[in-house]
Symmetry: C2
Subunit: 341 residues, 2 copies
C-alpha cells in the first residue's frame, strides 16, 4: 500500500528543501526554471496531490458543506440536494450529507458530528420532531459560533439565518382558486398534522381561497394525517364526504386518493379533480397523470448553496451586524389530466 506522496518525500528525493518544493509546485517566481522543471516533473511522475486535510488545517476552512435533511428517499429533498451538490461542486466544494430521519436526536447528533471543523457551514431542512419540540438550541449553538447556516423548506422563525422557502400559501391559494373557477365547490384538503410549517402554509392558502370566494369552510373536508406513511385513513375519509376536488400536500396522498376514487367508479377529472404537491415520478406517470405543484427543488438547492458559500467566504468584519435574507422560490402549477381548467 503506497502512501500518498508528500512534499517531504519529494524534497528528500531531490535533495532540496520542503519549501522549495512547495514553491516550485506553485510555479513561484522565486524558483529557478531548472529546479521548477525538475520538481514539477518528479511530482507529476509520482502523481503528487496536496493533502486536503493539511490545507484545511492551515486555512481554517474545509471546502465541505454539511447538508442535513429528514429523508433521502424522497423526491423533493433529493431534488434540492441535486441543486446543492451541483452548485457546490462548481465552486469547488464537497457535500457531506446526513439524514435526520425526522428525529430530533439524530439531527442534533449529526450536527455535532460535523460542527467540529468538518464543514464550513450547514444547509438544513428541519426534522419533523424538531419542529414539534420547537427546540433549536443545536442550531443556535452553531450560529453563535459563527458557522453559516441556511434553512430551506422546513424553517423556523426562532433562528436568525438565511432561508429559502417556496410561496406555499400563495400557490395553494392559486390552485384552489383555479379549482373554484372551474366550477368546483366541495374541495377537500389532504394534509399532514401541521407542525410542519409547510403544511400549515398550504392550509392557509386553501382557506383563504375558499373564504375569498364565499365558500364556507367545512372542517370535515380537511383531513390531517400524522405522516407520509399513514395513508390508510384516506379511504374512509373519502367514503364520508361529498366532494368534487382534492388538494393534497404531497404526491402520495393525491395518487392514493385518486386510486380510491377510481375504484369507486368516479371519473377523473369530470367527477372529481386532483392537485398535488411535488412534481415527481408519481405525478408524471400515474393514470391519469396528476396536476401538481412543482417546487423547483433544484433551484432551491442552488440558491441555498450559493447563500451559504457566499457567507462562508465573506469573512464578516468584526463590527458589522449580520443581515439575513430569506429567498422565496415561486412554485408553479403543472396542469395534467387530473384537472380540467
Amino acid at each position: 500500500m503506497k502512501r500518498q506522496i508528500t512534499l517531504k518525500h519529494i524534497a528528500r528525493e531531490l535533495e532540496v528543501s520542503i519549501s522549495t518544493v512547495s514553491k516550485a509546485l506553485k510555479n513561484s517566481e522565486e524558483i529557478s526554471r531548472d529546479t521548477k522543471e525538475k520538481i514539477q516533473a518528479f511530482a507529476k511522475l509520482y502523481n503528487y496531490k496536496p493533502n486536503n486535510i493539511a490545507i484545511s488545517l492551515k486555512n481554517k476552512h474545509t471546502k465541505n458543506i454539511g447538508v442535513i435533511i429528514p429523508d433521502i428517499v424522497h423526491h423533493f429533498f433529493t431534488t434540492v440536494f441535486r441543486g446543492i451538490e451541483k452548485y457546490a461542486n462548481s465552486r469547488g466544494y464537497n457535500v457531506i450529507i446526513c439524514v435526520s430521519d425526522e428525529s430530533f436526536d439524530k439531527e442534533v447528533i449529526n450536527m455535532e458530528m460535523l460542527a467540529n471543523g468538518s464543514v464550513d457551514g450547514f444547509i438544513m431542512a428541519l426534522a419533523g420532531e424538531t419542529q414539534l419540540k420547537n427546540d433549536f438550541n443545536h442550531l443556535r449553538e452553531v450560529t453563535e459560533q459563527g458557522v453559516p447556516l441556511v434553512l430551506f423548506d422546513r424553517v423556523t422563525n426562532e433562528i436568525q439565518c438565511d432561508k429559502v422557502v417556496i410561496n406555499d400559501t400563495e400557490v395553494a391559494y392559486q390552485a384552489v382558486k383555479k379549482m373554484i373557477a372551474s366550477g368546483r365547490k366541495r374541495i377537500a384538503l389532504l394534509t399532514t398534522e401541521n407542525f410542519f410549517n409547510v403544511s400549515k402554509h398550504r392550509e392557509d392558502g386553501y382557506r383563504k381561497a375558499l373564504m375569498e370566494s364565499g365558500i364556507e369552510i367545512d372542517e370535515k373536508l380537511i383531513l390531517a394525517l400524522p405522516f407520509d406513511e399513514s395513508i390508510d385513513d384516506i379511504s374512509p375519509f373519502l367514503d364520508n364526504v361529498n366532494i368534487d376536488a382534492i388538494l393534497a400536500v404531497n404526491e402520495v396522498f393525491a395518487i392514493h386518493a385518486m386510486g380510491i376514487a377510481l375504484k369507486k367508479g368516479l371519473k377523473i377529472p369530470e367527477d372529481i379533480s386532483f392537485i398535488g404537491f411535488t412534481d415527481g415520478l408519481l405525478s408524471k406517470h400515474s393514470i391519469p397523470s396528476l396536476s401538481t405543484i412543482a417546487q423547483h427543488g433544484d433551484r432551491m438547492g442552488e440558491i441555498a448553496a450559493q447563500m451559504l458559500i457566499d457567507r462562508a467566504e465573506n469573512e464578516i468584519g468584526d463590527g458589522e451586524e449580520e443581515t439575513y435574507r430569506t429567498e422565496v422560490i415561486k412554485a408553479t402549477l403543472i396542469e395534467r389530466e387530473s384537472t380540467n381548467f
Copy 2:
C-alpha cells in the same frame, strides 16, 4: 464571531501546558484530580470540541467515506445510500456524496476531489459513460494507492476490489419462469442498451428462462432503449408486437407500458401481465399496482459500507496479499396486481 476554542486557549487561560489540558480532557491518570476537574469544567463551560481536521491530520484517517453515484433523484440509489449512511454513522463515519450524472468526466473529477485525503475510501456505482468507455484508470489509481474501494450494482471485472451486486440473472430468470408457468407465451423485455452490466444480466436471465422452457426467443420482443428518459419508443413498440407479458428492467418502463396497454383497452393482468425492477413509489401506488423485483438497496448499502469500513480500519500487513469478496444480495419478487400467478 467566536472562533472554535482550542487546547491552546484553555492552556493559556488556565496557565497550564497544552499537553496537560489534552491529557486532562482524556481523563488521563497522569493528571491530578484537581487540575483535571478545573480543566474539564472550563472546557465544558466553553463547549470545547476537539477539531476534527487536526485529528484527521494526525491519525491519517478522516472517518469520512466518499460515495459516488450516477444519480441522486433515483429510488434505488437513494435506497442504497440510506443503507450506507445509516451503517456509516453507526460506526462514527460521515458520508460525502458526489453525483457523476452518468458522466465519465464528472466521475473522474469527483474522485480526484476526494482522493487527496478527504476520505478513507470510496463506495461507487459506475456511471453509464464509464461502463461504455471501459476506462477505469481513475479507479485503478485510487486502489493502487491503497485506498479501499467498494463497487455496487454497476460494477466491472476490470477492477479488483470488494463488490456488492444482486442476483440479476437469477431473479430475472425466476420472474420469467413464473410468467411462463402462469401460461404466458409471448413475453417481451424492456431494457436499456446493455453497456449497463445489470441490464445485460437481466437479459441473460430472460433468455435462459425462455430457452429452458422451449420457447423460441423472438428478438423483436426485446426493446433496448438508450436511457431511462427515452420512453417514447415504447408505444410504437407495443403497437407492433403481439405479447401477453412484459418484463421491464425498471419501474418507469413498466409503468409507462402499463399505461399504454390500459389505453389500448387491454386488461391487466388478464390480457397482459407486468413485472418491473425496483420497488419504489411507482410500483406501490400505480393502478393496478406493479409486481416488481425488490433490490433491497438498504441492505446493499449497509453491506457495502461495512466492507469498506472494515477494510479501511484493517491496516493490511505489508506482505499479505489482499483478497476481495463480492457479496450477492438476493433480490425478491413482490407480487402485486399486475400479475396473477
